[in-house]
């Protein structure tokens, strides 16, 4: 059943309003795409939001980046975690999902798994681990938005569908758009790199653009959903990776989940 009340433009409009309440996060998202922006510039902007700066410092000093306790300046923290990561953390803040109570119960657990799995898989898809990690971390943004718009309906939808493609189909049927696509719309609005937007937009279909995220969703499903019916990694990625690489990827993801969970204060 399609919900007539979900207006995607309205959802995106609400993000614009949110941006005005989080000016620092909005500036970071707006400026970190620019190649001419340096770590010093980004750190200067970040320094105006203590909560955001603390998150970046905590992440830079986490086991995920292997420099526990060594990063003492915000500028250095920005270079350690990378601009894309800073932007992703700002985006989480911008979207209002960092402290939102109205999120699905397993929202962050799933997001951290997606982030870790994407980070692990990234180098196999010619993506840097950090960029891929950011992609995974933000992929669920659409879920948060759908849940905020239709908490009961979305709760029912998740209760009756398995994580991954099955849910994407149900989301599209109900809202006319699936959650990664909605994320893509939001990120496009914030002028994220087009490759990142394309990857999210293509995750529920075939083709190379969404292959990394499809594999990350599959790895995440295997880790968080005991009843998940496996789809081979080869078929999801046009054989860019295959099932023989699954055990190592699962192990590495599991380890990074622990580090990221602590790093992000979840």
């Amino acid at each position: 059943m399609r919900v007539a009340g979900l207006d995607i433009d309205a959802v995106l409009d609400s993000l614009d309003q949110m941006a005005s309440r989080r000016p620092v996060a909005a500036r970071i998202v707006a400026t970190s795409n620019n190649d001419s922006t340096g770590a010093t510039d980004l750190a200067a902007i970040l320094g105006a939001d203590v909560a955001l700066a603390a998150k970046v410092m905590k992440l830079a000093n986490s086991a995920y980046f292997g420099l526990s306790g060594k990063v003492t300046s915000l500028r250095f923290a920005v270079t350690v975690v990378g601009f894309n990561t800073v932007r992703s953390i700002a985006t989480v803040s911008l979207a209002g999902i960092d402290d939102a109570t109205a999120l699905p119960e397993d929202f962050w657990e799933t997001s951290v798994h997606l982030a870790a799995a994407s980070g692990t898989l990234g180098p196999r898809f010619q993506e840097t681990a950090a960029d891929a990690m950011c992609l995974g971390l933000l992929a669920q943004l659409g879920v948060g938005l759908l849940h905020q718009a239709d908490a009961d309906g979305y709760g029912q939808l998740t209760a009756t569908t398995g994580f991954g493609p099955e849910r994407f189909i149900a989301e599209t049927r109900r809202y006319g758009i699936c959650s990664p696509q909605l994320t893509a719309e939001a990120l496009q609005q914030w002028r994220f790199p087009v490759e990142m937007v394309d990857a999210l937009r293509s995750v529920h279909a075939a083709g190379p653009a969404g292959a990394l995220l499809r594999a990350a969703y599959e790895i995440t499903a295997r880790l968080v959903d005991p009843g998940h019916r496996r789809t081979s990694l080869g078929s999801l990625t046009d054989n860019r990776i295959n099932e023989s690489q699954a055990p190592a990827t699962l192990a590495r993801t599991r380890a990074d989940v622990e580090a990221l969970r602590a790093a992000l204060g979840l």
Partner: protein
């Protein structure tokens, strides 16, 4: 312009809030219509359930391969679809432009991946679509070039025999090459991300992190680091880090590594060989010094040093052979190493000497260790079928504020060990302050003696040897006697400083100095005294000089330097010194005699001369020991008579020493010994006094008649 386009312009003109001038709108539309570079379409999504094409430009007709008239009124979905084959409806937003990926189907059935940007018109019914290939030809070419470039670089890095890692952010690795995987014996999966950190040696992790922090801050760094491979083996590497900055992304690094495990192992082996005794495997002196010096850096650290010397080791070596001696040393080293506590050091000092360094300031603890060592050492050892019970003497010293260096500590425990030896061997002695003072005193005196020799402050006295044959006594020779007037301690007896010279390796310097002064005096007397001058000078040789193969050269050189004839010099050597090594002595004395130098055996009769040797030894004189001369007046004439008779029968000259009375002179004369020396003729005289004495007609002192 087509009718549809004209209609659109009218609509735009009517609805645009800005109301652009009609001629401007017409100009823009004209340009857009004729633009072949960009595909533009206008679609209507107001009444239909799906978007319908209302207008298209030249770029669109070229992209789709259809005439503009063929596109108008057609469903957009007939020409393009999103990748998921979902509806295109989601891209048509009322208020914001959207971008999506679509697959465009051309008239010839070809599919082209394109990016579709939908821009809503203000009325909310029309959308302008801009369609362009997802990647232009230039982009594709650049991408292909970049891909090829990256591929080449990747192949180079991956196939390089140099282990290489690349971090994209922080310590997280994005890439590792095959050589690094081979070095650590794991697949790349285990190393990327922070996985590689699990293979860094625990003690190097902190340093590695600090280095990476510096590199991420832009510095180039090098470091040595240990890794633990999949077989738990430690691999030593030299690492070189280079910062890797990606604008707009962040900072990482590239590190190359050189596996220096084998080289290091070789260096360690060479270092071990240089610092450890090859026989026992124990550290040698250098290592011992380093260990003590390092321990002494902490003034509060307890430190005890033990000097251990095996008792009667020479006996084992001499009786069972050096191989058995070596076996014993190895066994002792093994037992010592097993007797000390963890952290203590056992070193081989040299020969049968070992030093144990304990990190304790407790005398009780140190003595426990020393007693345990004595107990363990005394267990029997079978050497060549003989059961040996090794024993050792151990000197113990606790570090005190007086000890400023390893030298101080070793010296004191050496002293303590000698005390242990002196008190009966097989025991442990803690350093006694009195003994230490005595040793210090001796060492100071030796130092003064060395200085006196350098400054030629050793002087000579000369005691005449007179021949009483015939009516007038004749001066036959003078015996040079060394004297040392210490600036603080006064006269040091010759017996003392000669012994010190012998014990501390100064005997050659002393001997050469005495020979030189005596020859110089001899040369000086000739012009001063003429016929009254001593025809010969006697110089004493130390027993140790009889092992000096350079002695003959030294004597020849000295005689030549002073213009003396060889027969003007007579070298005196004690009977016991001769018998230490008669074969060598015979060779050296033979060479001296061949040169013409005279040789006398001093203190004859006090040793254990082999008469067979004596007959063969190239000597010219025997000197009857003063003890035999002294007993003449008591009626004990047999020994003196025997020596004199022996000399006569061997056709050697004979000189009686220690003659003090006229009676002794008369008795010796009756026995056939006319060459005499002693206080009865003259006490030893300083050089100028001797000249006066010669000029005065060789006056004898007033001596008491017996």
């Amino acid at each position: 312009m087509s009718a549809v386009a004209a209609s659109s312009v009218d609509d735009a003109d009517r609805r645009s809030p800005q109301r652009e001038p009609r001629d401007v709108v017409a100009a823009v539309l004209h340009a857009a219509t004729a633009d072949a570079e960009v595909a533009l379409m206008v679609t209507d999504f107001s009444d239909a359930v799906e978007p319908i094409i209302r207008w298209s430009n030249l770029g669109a007709t070229e992209l789709l391969g259809r005439a503009s008239s063929d596109l108008d009124g057609e469903r957009l979905a007939d020409f393009m679809q999103p990748p998921d084959k979902a509806s295109l409806a989601t891209i048509f937003r009322r208020e914001r432009p959207t971008t999506t990926l679509v697959t465009v189907r051309t008239a010839v059935g070809e599919t082209v991946a394109c990016r579709l940007i939908a821009i809503p018109a203000p009325d909310g019914c029309l959308w302008t679509l801009r369609v362009h290939p997802a990647q232009s030809d230039l982009e594709l070419a650049l991408r292909a070039s970049a891909d090829a470039h990256e591929h080449r670089f990747k192949v180079l890095a991956e196939r390089s025999p140099v282990p290489t890692m690349m971090s994209e952010q922080g310590m997280r690795l994005g890439h590792v090459n095959d050589a690094l995987c081979a070095l650590l014996g794991v697949t790349a999966d285990k190393l990327i991300g922070t996985g590689w950190m699990a293979y860094i040696h625990g003690e190097d992790l902190e340093r590695m992190t600090d280095t990476v922090v510096a590199v991420l801050a832009g510095q180039e760094r090098e470091m040595q680091a240990r890794f633990v491979d999949s077989q738990r083996r430690v691999r030593y590497t030299d690492m070189r880090f280079t910062p890797l900055h990606t604008p707009g992304v962040g900072d990482g690094f590239v590190a190359t590594m050189e596996d220096i495990t084998d080289r290091r192992a070789l260096e360690e082996q060479l270092n071990f060989q240089a610092t450890h005794d090859s026989l026992t495997g124990l550290p040698r002196r250098g290592k011992l010094w380093d260990h003590i010096t390092a321990a002494m850096e902490d003034p509060q650290a307890g430190l005890t040093c033990m000097f251990l010397d095996l008792d009667n080791f020479k006996l084992v070596n001499d009786s069972l052979g050096h191989k058995a001696g070596d076996t014993l040393l190895v066994e002792i080293a093994h037992r010592l190493s097993g007797s000390v506590r963890p952290g203590d050091l056992v070193a081989r000092f040299g020969g049968d000497e070992f030093v144990v360094v304990c990190g304790t300031g407790s005398l009780d603890t140190a003595l426990e260790v020393a007693d345990r060592i004595l107990r363990v050492l005394s267990d029997p050892v079978m050497l060549g079928g003989v059961e040996i019970h090794p024993r050792a003497s151990i000197g113990v010293v606790l570090r005190s504020p007086d000890h400023h260096s390893a030298d101080d500590l070793i010296r004191d425990c050496d002293i303590a060990m000698y005390q242990a030896k002196a008190r009966g061997r097989g025991r442990v002695m803690v350093l006694d302050e009195g003994a230490r003072s005595a040793v210090y005193d001796t060492l100071t005196l030796v130092s003064d003696l060395r200085q006196a020799l350098e400054e030629r402050r050793i002087t000579l006295c000369y005691q005449p040897i007179v021949c009483y044959e015939g009516t007038h006594p004749q001066l036959a020779s003078v015996e040079a006697l060394a004297r040392w007037q210490h600036p603080d301690r006064g006269t040091i007896p010759a017996s003392v400083f000669v012994r010190l010279a012998e014990e501390h390796g100064l005997v050659r310097e002393l001997g050469e100095l005495v020979l030189d002064i005596a020859c110089a005096a001899m040369a000086a007397w000739q012009p001063q005294l003429g016929a009254l001058a001593p025809p010969q000078v006697n110089v004493n040789l130390s027993a140790l000089q009889m092992n000096d193969h350079l002695l003959v050269q030294t004597v020849k050189r000295t005689l030549r330097r002073h213009g003396l004839r060889p027969e003007q010099l007579c070298l005196e050597i004690t009977e016991s010194a001769l018998m230490n090594d008669p074969a060598t002595a015979s060779i050296i004395l033979g060479q001296l005699r061949d040169h013409g130098v005279l040789v006398a055996i001093d203190d004859f009769g006090t040793g254990y001369s082999s008469l067979a040797y004596l007959r063969r030894l190239p000597v010219h004189y025997l000197k009857v020991d003063r003890s035999f001369v002294a007993e003449l007046q008591d009626g004990h004439t047999a020994v003196a008579q025997a020596v004199i008779s022996l000399a006569r029968s061997l056709e050697l000259g004979v000189v009686a020493e220690g003659v003090e009375t006229v009676a002794q002179m008369q008795m010796l004369e009756r026995m056939g010994c006319s060459l005499v020396q002693g206080f009865g003729i003259s006490q030893p005289l300083a050089g100028p006094d001797l000249v006066d004495w010669c000029r005065s007609g060789l006056p004898t002192p007033q001596v008491d008649a017996p």
